[in-house]
Structures are given as C-alpha cells and as structure tokens.
Amino acid sequence: MFDRLKAFLTVLPILLYLITLVGVPLVFIAVISFLSRDDHGRILFAFTTVNYNRIFDPVILSIFRESLIVASLASTGTFLIGAPFAFFVASLKRRSQNVVILFALFVFWTSSLIRTNGWMIILQTNGILNRFLMLIGLSDGTTRYLFNLPATVFVTVYMFLPFMILPIYVAAESIAPTLRDAARDLGAGHIRTFLQVTLPLCKDGILAGFALVFIPVTGLFFISDTIGGGLRMTLGNLLHSQMAGHGNNHPFGAALAMILLIFSVIIVSFFLFLPRSRRKKQVDGR
C-alpha cells in the first residue's frame, strides 16, 4: 500500500501538468462554446446555444462540406499512392525495408511549411512544372496549377503520405510469410493470395492510415490558405480565423472546435479502437 502511494506521488507532477494543459483547455472549449460575447469580443457568462445554431447557416454548412471533400479526396489519394508503395516495401529484403522507411520518414525532419513553399515555387504560373510541360509540349504556358482544389489536394496528399504508408507497411510486414506460402501451395494465384490473405490481414493498418490522414486534414488550414489561395474555406480556416484572425468570435470558434472534437473522437473510435478491441476479443475467445 505504501509503495503504491509512493508510485502515485511520483506520477502526480506529470498527471497534474497534463490535466492543466490538455484536460482543462478541452473543458474550456466545451464551456465557452455555450457562452455569449459582448460587442468588444469579450466573453459574457450567459448561457446560449446561438454558437451551435450558427453552424446550420448554409455558408457554414458549405464550409463543412468543403472540408469533408478535401479530407476524403486527400485520404483516398494517400491510400491509392501509399498502399501499393507500402506493400512494395514490405516485399523487400529486411535491410532495404529499413532504409526505405527511414528515407520516407526523414522528410518530416524539414518543416512542412517550407516544403509547402517549395511546392508553391514549383506549381506557380511560369513555375518549374509549367516550364517543364511546355518543354515537352504538354502545356501552352497559360494553365494555372495553383490556387485551386486539385492543387490543395495534391499538396495535402504529399504532406500526409507517410501517415498512410507507415501503418499499412507495419501491418503487411507482420504477416507471416508462411501464410502466403500456404495460400500459394493450395493453388491460389498471386492476385488471389493478395486479395484473400494479405489484404484482409492489413485491414486494421489501412483503417488506421485513413484515420491518421482524415482527422488532421479536417483541422488543417495552412495548405488551403497558401496553395489553395484562401479562395475556398475549410473548417480549419474558419476556426483559425475565428480564434486568431479578423473574425474573432471565441465562443463560435469554441463551438466549431467542439464539433471537430466530437467528429474526431467518432472517427478515432471507429477506425482505430474498434478494430483493435474486436481483434482482442477474437484472441481471447480462442
């Protein structure tokens, strides 16, 4: 008993620290989302649901739709590029696997904003891409590659690709090669082995990849603000402008953050925790 108390006392500082800087701010969001504000933007302690009612404004709803479109396209895009790549890496020799994965992760070492700026230089009118395409005769030099939805999705896919590759690679890599050999011995072809053995066993990894891309993208603002030219707002842009920009309506921002929070929790539990607990049950049942 004394030992347990001592262990608890040593863990207390970090626990209190995290409660103050993670738990309390989340409670602040929940409380302030139900408060109103005066003409100067100061928060008034008067209960209201007006912040949540505003979400049903058609303009706000279209921003929600826009965010969902960007997030769905981006996570599908990362999947289409990342999944084949992950399976390819998993089929390599152990040593080359480590090198390739390290290489893919090392790109994080450079600031994401600096890399976004690199893409701006490449994609702009008269930029490298345009000149290259003109050189091989595919462009007349007038096409605009920046400030539109495809460009935003493209750079988002680029930025989040490692988040899709990694969980699928981990899942594919942990499949015992004997399973695939067994399928082949039983007469299944390459494609059938992949579809009936490899793919189902990688399901958790794929779901995790989707969650790891989809969730952060819904709250992202700097790519759509720069690459997208700020022409189309996403939820991240709206929330950022309410909290730091000229919109400056903290209670409304809190309500938006609350919606985003609930949404993220739903996605996390469906894509990350449910598969895990189901698998645990299967293992326990055996």
Binding site: I14, L15, Y17, I114, T116, F222, D225
Partner: protein
Amino acid sequence: MLLLYLPIAVIIVYSFNYSETDAVWGGFTTGWYRTLFANRRLLDSVANSVRVTMLAVCISVVLGTFGAVAAARCGKFVKRSISALIFTPLILPEIILGTGLLLFFTAMPVNFGILAIALAHTTFCIPYIYIFVSIRLKKLDPALIDAARDLGAGACRTFFAVTLPSILPAVTTGALISAAMSLDSVVMSSLLSAPDSITFPVRLFSLMRIGTTPEVNALSALMIVAMFGFAAVGFFLMRVKKNE
C-alpha cells in the same frame, strides 16, 4: 520517393537564384544570404523560434522522462489515464487543443507571452519523449535496479546511476524529434503568438500568403541544412555510443 524531397531541393536551388521572382532562373548569386542578415524581422522570428523550442524541449525532457519512469511503476489504471492524456494531443487535430489553450491562456490574469507558445508545444513534445523512454524502460532488466537498491543505493542514486544512463539514448532521440516538431509548429504557434512573439513558421505563413522573397528561401535553406546537420550529429553520437 524522390518526389518527397523535390520541394526541399527546389527551395535550396532557388535560394541562389539571381532573379527576384521565384518563377524564373536568372543566374547564380549568394546575394540573398547577405540581404537576409539585414532583415531584422525575419531574424527575430528565428530567434523566437529557437527560444520557444529550447524552452519546450527542456520542460518536455524533464516531465516526459520522469513521467515515463514514474508511470512504469504504477498500476494499470494510472498508466492508462496518463496514456489517454498524453496521446490526445497527437491524435486530435492540432487546432482543437490550440483553440483550447488559446482560450485557457486568454483567461489567465497574466500575459505568458513566449512561454505560452512553449507550454503549448510541450503538449505534443512530451508524448514523443514519453513513448521512446517507455519502450526503452520495458527492455531494461528490473534485476539491475533491484541490485542497485540491494547494494544500498537510494532511489535517487539508483535513478542517476542505473536508470538514466540506460535510457539516455531514448531521451536524446525523443528530444531531437520533439525539437523538430516544435520548430515546425504552424498551427499552435500562429494561434498563440502575439506581435512580439512571432515564430519563424508563423512569419513564413503570413509571407507566403502575400508572396515570398528569395531571402525567405535563403533562410529556409539554412534551416534545412541546420536540421540535417543536427540529424547527422545525433546519428553520429548514437553510433559512437554503440561502439563503446
């Protein structure tokens, strides 16, 4: 795969571009590096970034390491609640906790200034250190600690003489990764920065919206080279440690 590194290469190449617009190549020059060192606003933002990162990493190293060591001795319930609190900032979109922290610091009677950004960064720096140290601790033979205690070393002495040396590589790795994350943070920093505490990513973000100058590319190139240098040093140190 090389496409991943293309924008980085482009930034470095274009920092030597003579032409003032990013679009055309106008010949080689190192002039932008010279004008960069006259640009106070840009340099100030880098200084702010370095201050924030150093503060955030120092706090995170202490709390993350002691947290992981302490949690390793606790029951399942305590471990789980710490994990839940620690991983929340990594799983949720950064902007949610950023919003919460902004509301939290606005409600405070004192102005935290640059410390507010540093404290906000610790929420996503601590997890990296905590994860690496916890993994390392699991591999640590508990008999070693028992032996130290049996030989008469107190809890403190055991920690500094036995536990700390064996988890040090994990602490270093965690610290390096969290430093990179902190230097890169756009979302938290731009929510919490005031005009006098603007960090480099926040400045870069506002410049990118109106159009950047080659000076910015020069600074970005220097930061890229510095980061790769750090990684090389970290890698080298780990190699040396292993060979000993």
